[in-house]
Amino acid sequence: MSLKLSTRQVGDVTIVDAAGRITLGEGSSAFRDLVKDLITKGSKKVILNLGEISYIDSSGIGELVSSFTTVQNAGGQMKLLNLTKRVKDLLQITKLYTVFEVFEDEAASLASFK
């Protein structure tokens, strides 16, 4: 399944629900465009819900990093929610697990912005 993205607003926090695959040529540009759009619209608090991501490769990891720095450079924060075991393993292999703020519970991720 190619990447599907949807957004919802909880207070001043934007939650991006992502489902499917994030690989080179398969949704990675859509992901980048969405994050840029959020920044343009003034979203500074972003939670990326990866609970339905079935597959991610190094290009997809690169997109996560790129989005993270895009949001950070705009003065905002991007946090990750609901990592699958495979995504978590990849973030650990690449040492990015220490870079991202990661949550397993949506309420906790929302509360972390307060």
């Binding site: 490769d57 290009s59 690169g62 990093v65 720095t69 870079v99």
Partner: protein, 139 residues
């Protein structure tokens, strides 16, 4: 089907084809699901490197895919016709200053997911990567 030796177009579509073909051989060989995921990921990373960085999507250049089996392993060899590179000169993706780079993690993921990796690359003679994944893998 225990052996594949084929030349593929330099397009992202062939990344999917190569992964699919390798995983078919791996399944027939008895590689378990998690091992197949790891080998498939490694194949995707090397195929992507071959198409994007090696052959640079050139219609005139092919990616050579060879898949074979040993009693206890699946061996995948992927070669491109690109400019080659110096593997030891690549930035360390785990270095603090490189952690937020957008790219450069593919080979590290490959090394984590297969049991043996051999990279042969020479200027103007392309790059060839040979990976071995044991059926009872510790990777």
């Amino acid at each position: 089907m225990g052996h594949i030796d084929t030349f593929l177009e330099s397009s992202l579509d062939t990344v999917d084809l190569a992964e699919e073909a390798v995983l078919k051989v791996a399944k027939e060989a008895g590689l378990q699901e998690e091992g197949r995921y790891e080998l498939g990921m490694a194949v995707r990373e090397i195929m992507t490197n071959a198409v994007v960085h090696g052959n640079r999507y050139s219609l005139n250049k092919k990616v050579h895919l060879v898949v074979s089996r040993e009693e206890n392993a699946v061996i995948v060899k992927i070669g491109d016709e690109g400019d080659g590179y110096t593997p030891d000169c690549q930035p360390d993706p785990l270095a603090e200053e490189n952690l937020l780079n957008q790219s450069g993690r593919g080979m590290m993921i490959v090394r984590a997911f297969v049991d043996e990796v051999l990279v042969t690359s020479e200027p103007r003679r392309g790059t060839e990567v040979t990976m071995r994944k044991y059926l009872q893998s510790e990777a």
